[in-house]
Amino acid sequence: MPYLLNTDADRAAMLAKIGATSVDDLFAPIPAELRLTRPLDIPAALCEQDLTAHMQRLAAKNRPAGELVCFLGGGAYDHFVPAVVDAVAGRSEFYTAYTPYQAEASQGTLQAVFEYQTLMCQLTGLEVANASLYEAGSAVAEAVLMALGVTGRTGEVLVAGSVHPQYVQTLRTLTENLPCRVRVLPTPHGFLDPDDVAKAVTDSTVCVILQSPNVFGCLEESAAVGAAAKKGGAVFVSVFDPVSVGLLRRPGDDGADIAVAEGQGLGVPLGFGGPYLGILACRGDTEYLRKIPGRLVGQTTDRNGKRCWVLTLQTREQHIRREKATSNICTNQGLLALRAAVHLTALGPTGLRETAELCLRKAHYAAAELAKVGGVRLAFDRPFVKEFTVRLAADVPAVLAGLRESGFLAGLPLGDWYPDLPDAVAVAVTEKRTKAEIDALAAALREQLAKTA
């Protein structure tokens, strides 16, 4: 059997030591009537060569970014991943280890996570970051759980309508049975008006959630929204983009109490959506520190006074607090946090800034070129960085399908999420897209629109 080592002689010796006559004896506690008496109905075993051939066949039925030119964004971006990220994450000491329960034998993981935490603080301008969460959607929900705990309030969770709809959906699901209500504040002009926030915030408001750049690609008035939230004593949760922050003001600079992001853009492959990386950072106040979900690595010293790192503040966690826990998160996305740490270390401040600037300039060039195409207009008159929304005077699914034939994943149709925007498409432009690809997209779009017009 694949991966099984014991020989017949081993098995016999082991049974003898156990005092059993057969392996079946060991399953005696399972009542006979509960046993499965037939083989599982799954396909027969494949050897490595056949598995490889099978997976290659499946892979060939997909059309990945690289085969299709990718202008899709919507929370996952086709950023360049330096080879060092794969090289480090491919070290089996990292990927075949588990949670660093035995600190002495896990300093590699612990120090890497401590560095990740620091990098997230540097990236957000906040004081504390956890060891990572699953992805952005559930991280937003965790931020709300924190806000519930920190404020002690049970009123409204205000969310901008321009926050990624899947994050909002996740938030609704995960807080469904908890003492708060999610209310979406409309963003008809592609961003949340701070005045609307000021009006909506009451002394029972738990938090205000804003994403900038938002799902339309537009920048939000974060500082003003944050101020309005805090004026009412609500927690300000800021969802940011970890690449664009190379150029933009950081959440902490704009007054965020909790910053959350999807970390996929930091060296994580697109991978059809997961595993990804939920970034969460917050203020350093004690009440925040007590409520921050997930793992934390802390610095300490060993018996000889040597600096070292351990999992810490675990009393917050479920295996101690059990029914008193405020989060059920008991792992982190360790390997993805490592990837992000390596990625940011590779880029450094200058590389991150230059990447963000390339995205911005290319996105602006693309927006200008697409807007020249008859039947295309920019949806919003707002500043944007790497993603923007256009509206098409044509049937969006047909146009996108046509562009797919021409080799483009041209953008994300927003109509499913925003029924009032059936003609809207979000277009993301990373540093990997070339002028030639953008020009070719504009030309193909012109042709499609001419066809469907």
């Binding site: 399972i30 039925k61 990927y95 035995q102 590699g108 559930s138 200058t350 800034r353």
Partner: protein
Amino acid sequence: QSTELVFELSRPGRRGHRVPPCDVPADTPLSSLVPDRFLAAEPPPLPEVAEIDLIRHFTNLSTRNMCIDTQFYPLGSCTMKYNPKRHERLAALPGFADLHPLQPDDTVQGMLELLYEMQQFLAEISGLPAVSLQPAAGAQGELTALLVAAAYFRDKGQTHRRKVLVPDSAHGTNPASAQLAGFDTVTVKSNAKGLVDLEELKAKLGADTAVFMITNPNTLGLFEVQIRQITDLVHAAGGLVYLDGANMNAILGITRPGDFGADMQHYNVHKTFTGPHGGGGPGSGPIAVRDFLAPYLPAPVVVRDGDTFRLSDTRDKTIGRVRSFFGNVGILFRGYCYIRTLGPDGLKACSETAVLNANYLRARVSEAFDVPHPGPCMHEFVASGRSLLRERKVRAMDVCKRLLDYGFHAPTVYFPLVVPEALMMEPTETESKETLDAFADVLLTIKGEDAELLKTAPHTHVVSRPDEVKAAKEPVLRWRAPV
């Protein structure tokens, strides 16, 4: 060995990565594209190092970890089995790794086929026909299942069912998940055999019971022999039975949760089907449920139309979604590879071998340590260091630390809470008799070693025992530039 942080290696102006020249017009000032009020004066203060610095730093860091590829890792409840190299190679194929999560279905048919089959496999293995692959980890799977239960009871007008019953030996995530799903937790004490006490259960079941969460085999590594009576009792009370699937590695192809009365379960794909644990994640925690609960599952799921596959959002009673995008596909992918490599006979042989290995190790370990509960165990067992503590003031943790000196990872310690000085060992099916013997021999040796040597262990690692109290009392959770 130095413990320099990457920040301490930073030198102003040093860099590794370079970006391409801008091939679109770059002469306009940035502030003409984005108003100044959005722009930062400086980029974030990240470290500045060259590529060789980075590689040396992280390569050297890696060598300070124990891992499956270098050590036996009998960490109970974590199923640290071998992670096949073929999985890593296949997962890196661009046809899988470079798929955007929002690509249209017609461009990801191979991926959807794989995920559809994975749904089928998990349904078949559990005997529960409806599967959601969405949860990102076991704990999220638990929570998702409880949200499904809550939605179901709400739908049935039974909002009075507010109680979730949890055995005292359960994983800590069980009560925490119940809490977050809006339920109240009731603890059910185990009997002397380490199993659910039927009388206690009966006493706590009632009209307010929503769900009974059971781990089977339980965290002591014991199969609940009365599982059928237990699930019948819960059902009779109008409640649902949730199976914590952490210990599925013991029963693949041998018995199915659906067949012994569970209504819902999660899988830990990264454990049972060997996704590498990644230093603490990612995992993947899909759930399988009975048909009557299917309408409440998160969306989307993969459905098959003839020869094509598509993502379907169309459950009218869905709880929504518990994360963005589809799920931890990379881990599901590896689980799929494992299942396809093993096939039905191989999966069953896995569980048989995991149980044989555990019982053998149990027999060897009991030469030196108390093993409080009668065997046979399933895929893991819990020993106790209580006599060592009583006789020589050596704690279970000291034994664990000393094991590290001998090149073995430690067992899980002080869990489950119901066993004093617990040492929970799970050898998994991918270890050999020689390895188990070598480990047991070392345990026997350690038992006879000088108490002081044990209390100050480990002695051969890059650091000695850390001051955990200090870490918690004066938390230092990030590096700061010296002033």
